[in-house]
């Protein structure tokens, strides 16, 4: 019997995927697909996948957040959550929108509070990145040997 990727992934205690893409809209779909692929491996629900993808889009597609021509998205699988870090970001723009909004649209803080459980602006490697953590129920069957 074929062992599915989902079953193999569920035997891991932690997993991470790092993706660096040009900061351009056509590439954002690539990042969405990667999040989708991970969600499929972890057996996440459609609604959880939607939340993660929408949170990602909210950061990538609003002008002024991403600093530079390239953006790195890192997905970290933890026992009961998926954490997404996105960067490098312009800390002034992001912080302003996290702390009450810039008054010109829906504040990032409100969007993210609906979509994920934890939001943190972190400084690392000389740049800033946003860490978004979504708690998700993960069904983890008994570990089995990979094929």
């Amino acid at each position: 019997m074929r062992t599915s990727c989902a079953e193999v992934a569920r035997t891991l205690s932690a997993d991470s995927i790092t993706l660096s893409i040009p900061h351009a809209k056509p590439y954002h779909g690539v990042a969405r697909l990667v999040v989708g692929g991970l969600a499929a491996r972890l057996d996440l629900s459609y609604e959880h996948l939607e939340d993660l993808q929408l949170a990602l889009e909210s950061v990538l597609e609003r002008g002024g957040y991403v600093a530079g021509d390239e953006v790195t998205v890192r997905l970290l699988v933890e026992p009961d959550s998926v954490a997404m870090t996105i960067g490098p970001l312009d800390p002034v723009e992001v912080r302003a929108d996290l702390e009450g909004g810039r008054g010109d649209g829906i504040p990032l803080s409100r969007l993210l509070a609906t979509l994920v459980e934890e939001v943190a602006l972190e400084e690392a490697d000389g740049g800033h990145r946003l860490r978004l953590e979504k708690r998700v129920p993960m069904r983890r069957p008994e570990p089995r040997a990979p094929v």
């Binding site: 697909l33 057996d43 629900s45 459609y46 996948l49 889009e57 002008g63 010109d104 649209g105 504040p107």
Partner: protein, 253 residues
Amino acid sequence: MTAAGGTTDRELLRRYHQGGDLEAREQLIEQYLPLVRSLARRYANRGEQLEDLVQVGAIGLIKAIDRFDVDRGVELSTYATPNIIGEIKRHFRDKGWSIRVPRGLQELNVRLSQLLERLTAELERSPTISELAEAAGVTEEEVLEALESGQAYTTVSLSAPSGQGEDGQVDPLESLGELEHAYEVSEDRAVLAPGLEALDERERRILHLRFWEGLTQSQIAAQVGISQMHVSRLIRRALEKVRDEIATGRRFE
């Protein structure tokens, strides 16, 4: 630009914005229709009639006239051009499937939308990607690809006139107007933020239910009587409109 009677744009704009002179507004609209027509011509031959595009572009012109700040040192033509083009582009986006999406994926997306409803009801929770794949008889990758292709789609109803359709059916989104009275009295300043001006009332209400009331997509779908995937598209499209609006506004700051 100077009107036939020697009245300048700025005078007409002041008469409209400060004195509520609707004739001045009409005059401005007529004056700038050639600009709309010229911009619309750029987008003709893409499957839409030129006259339809002119009408769509005219909506962008009217929005530009209505939002124009007479105290800024910007010409109306400079301010109106991106608004007109934005409205025409939005029209193409709202029209339906992009021709780039293969028919097979379009059909799978439609099937997935139906399966999502069925499985959510059967399982009493949102299904996983593998459950959707199994029900559709395709691989998980195909499900993800079809869902991603759905990003290129939105329904015409998002921008269609409200009220009864030709078949006499009321657009289900119309019912939102009766659902959310709290929205009407919301004091959250974001509700009135300039970025939300691009949204119609129905889109604002969908966003309100999701991000202010905290309803899930499936709860909104159940409450409104449309599919969960339709709710998802409406939310994405509305957020994209807000982002576009903010980007346009920032160019003139």
